[in-house]
């Protein structure tokens, strides 16, 4: 392969990695929107909390010593998912459920308030400085191309991100399409009033979508925490914004759309940084969002909203 194509390949690999994590966070936005039609702006903060929890668990377990790394990561993942899920559940219970039925704008303001609250709560509890963790997973899986031209590398960490994202997405898709709860979930998305009349506890279903979204955000928190090795209380804002863009890009309300949107956004960012000055990265990715909204307001895989009577 020529140098140019090897370089392109490397940038696509980089883009898919970051895109996978956008997709994981985007699902939380899209599921909540799909069912209750509100945007949970505190979702980025859940991702940040998930990252903090996994840092705390990992450093704690490593300090104890003599525990195999995969076990440490697994425990961290489970704990982060549990804690983040309880945050997701609590946020819905405290900040959104009492406001359901009122104007959509009110719930949105409540969400922004929740986001500011969580950010500052973490600043107070953990300090506002960067918390760092030494690299745990290093080295590369494949290296091809030659040193003289350009060497393509896929690191173990990138591979881990892909595999974990793929597993999470598959489990989620199976859950939504095969399980009873998943069916109830789809029913809620279609017509929440009707679902309620048919005897399904819609409050439970809504709480569950918050829990699932938070758990996936916690997975992204752990993966990106390991990948970058750094977390601070403000990472949730920009990650949330990017994931929200991904959700809108793919079609908000659609789960496959969120996955696709995340990957497209990640690859677009990487390719922009590859062929233009990297400072244009965000300009292009948010410009893309504007274009999609102008020409296809429902997003790539979104269905036009039918006015419910």
């Amino acid at each position: 392969m020529t140098e140019a194509s090897l370089y392109l390949l490397q940038q696509i690999i980089n883009g898919l990695t970051i895109g996978s994590t956008y997709a994981l966070i985007a699902i939380g936005y899209t599921m909540v929107y799909g069912i209750i039609g509100m945007i949970n702006f505190a979702h980025g903060e859940i991702y940040m909390i998930g990252s903090y929890i996994s840092f705390i668990v990992i450093t704690g377990l490593l300090a104890m010593g003599h525990i195999a790394l995969p076990a440490v990561l697994f425990v961290a993942l489970v704990v982060a998912m549990l804690v983040a899920s309880s945050y997701g559940w609590a946020i819905e219970r405290v900040a959104y459920r009492p406001l359901r039925g009122s104007n959509r704008l009110i719930a949105l303001i409540s969400a922004i308030g929740m986001s500011i609250f969580l950010q500052n709560y973490v600043v107070l509890a953990q300090g506002s400085r960067d918390v760092a963790m030494p690299p745990l997973i290093s080295g590369s899986l494949v290296e091809f191309g030659s040193l003289e031209t350009f060497e393509v590398t896929i690191s173990w960490m990138q591979l881990l991100i892909w595999v974990v994202t793929l597993i999470s997405m598959t489990v989620l898709t199976l859950f939504i399409s095969r399980s009873r709860m998943g069916r109830a979930c789809r029913a809620c998305a279609e017509d929440i009033g009707m679902t309620n009349l048919l005897g399904i506890d819609t409050n439970r279903i809504i709480a569950m979508t918050f829990v699932i979204g938070a758990a996936l955000a916690a997975i992204a928190g752990l993966l990106l925490g390991l990948y970058y090795g750094v977390v601070n209380p403000f990472v949730g804002f920009i990650a949330g914004l990017k994931a929200f863009t991904a959700a809108v890009l793919g079609g908000i309300g659609s789960i496959p759309g969120a996955m696709l949107g995340g990957l497209i956004l990640g690859v677009t960012e990487a390719l922009t940084a590859a062929y233009f000055p990297s400072e244009y990265k965000d300009v292009v990715s948010f410009g893309l969002l504007v274009l999609i909204l102008l020409f296809r307001p429902t997003g790539i895989l979104g269905k036009p909203e039918v006015e419910k009577v």
């Binding site: 990695t17 590369s140 970058y228 990487a270």
Partner: protein, 373 residues
């Protein structure tokens, strides 16, 4: 905190007492105003200035004073607040003091310097690095600290003179500090005959630099100058190591922080950085360091010795011209050279140091730094 406050009120008391005594023996006393934050979030920097100035004053008083006059420092608290700095400057004028060491924060020094210039007061700042302070052409305003931009030329000199890399990339974080330095480095490199192959900004707060690193790899870069702060550079270093990108990295003072090693781990080893010289490590300052430590104070702060030097320059000038007239002193200061606690001092026509007070350091994975060759 309580102890600190106690110490502070003691100093105030001492100052008040000294003021009362000074009233009777005015002819033999030279008063130097010490303007800077004694309270507020950056009060620790004010402490550094106070430690340096008081050490110098103690030294001169123990050795017969300046030109036979006893020296006395009078503390004025501007809390690093521009409005309060103006009030302090006016108070200094009203109190009849014509020699000022301070202020500390550039944003305070700037408005205060307007007043000092109009009133013909000599001011030497030991901490303000903003270029705009000396750009107004005030001839009674001097510094004993280098400008930020001097770091850029120093870095470029080191790159072209010592490292001699083949392909250089200059990266910055698009902020005033980082981009300003990166631009200086690029321009100085071009002058030295090295054309950087890449000059590019990244977004401060960004976490993923894999695209940038692949680009650097493709451009076959062997030296990267980064203008910015440690959080972004830390991630760039860490991700470079992961991707097997091996180049020599260099940055300004903004990256010299123990957090860099926490983020980047082993990748920090060997990174170059320009940082202010550690004057307390200079053997010529050993006696001064000992005198400060004897009082139970900390001599390692970056502004301690620049503040000490400010008093030395004033003292040398008064000795030489046998006058405390600020205008005559300013004229002498800009025309002459001084040997001080920060080394050899010579001013350009703006009142800036001609020699950099920065040095190139090599950073280590354990968070320490040593002077680079």
């Amino acid at each position: 905190m309580a102890i600190k406050m106690k110490g502070f009120s003691k100093t105030l008391l001492a100052t008040a007492a000294a003021l009362a005594i000074a009233g009777t023996a005015q002819a033999e006393t030279l008063k130097i105003a010490l303007a800077g934050p004694a309270t507020g979030p950056v009060a620790q920097y004010g402490d550094m200035q106070k430690i340096g100035v008081e050490a110098a004053i103690d030294y001169f008083n123990a050795n017969g004073g300046i030109n036979g006059m006893e020296v006395e420092g009078v503390i004025y608290d501007d809390a690093c607040d521009p409005k309060q700095a103006v009030a302090v400057a006016n108070k200094i004028v009203n109190d009849g003091i014509t020699h000022v060491v301070g202020h500390l924060c550039s944003s305070s020094t700037e408005p205060a310097s307007d007043i000092y210039y109009e009133e013909g007061i000599l001011m030497i700042t030991a901490a303000s690095t903003s270029p705009s302070i000396t750009e107004k052409g005030y001839d009674t305003i001097f510094r004993t600290i280098g400008l930020d931009s001097l770091q850029g030329t120093l870095a470029a000199d080191y790159i072209s003179g010592t490292v001699k890399p083949e392909r250089v990339a200059v990266i910055h974080d698009k902020q005033q500090y980082g981009e300003g330095l990166a631009t200086t480095v690029r321009d100085s490199l071009v002058e030295a005959g090295i054309e950087p192959v890449m000059f590019e900004g990244v977004t401060a707060g960004d976490k993923d630099f894999s695209a940038l690193i692949a680009k650097l790899q493709k451009a076959d870069v062997d030296f990267v100058y980064y203008g910015g702060y440690h959080p972004e550079l830390g991630l760039i270093l860490r991700q470079s190591k992961e991707k097997g990108f091996e180049a020599q990295f260099m940055g300004p003072e903004g990256i010299v922080n123990s957090d860099l090693a926490k983020i980047a781990g082993d990748a920090t080893e060997g990174v170059l950085a320009t940082a202010p010289k550690s004057f307390d490590k200079n053997p010529e300052n050993a006696l001064r360091v000992a005198a400060i430590e004897e009082k139970g104070l900390d001599p390692t702060g970056p502004f301690v010795f620049p503040a000490y030097a400010a008093v030395q320059i004033m003292a040398d000038t008064i000795d030489a011209i046998d006058s405390t007239d600020p205008m005559a002193m300013a004229e002498y200061i800009s025309a002459n050279e001084f040997e001080t606690a920060i080394g050899h001092v010579k001013y350009d026509d703006k009142g800036d140091l001609t020699e950099s007070t920065f040095l190139v350091y090599e950073l280590h994975a354990d968070g320490s730094k040593t002077a680079a060759e």
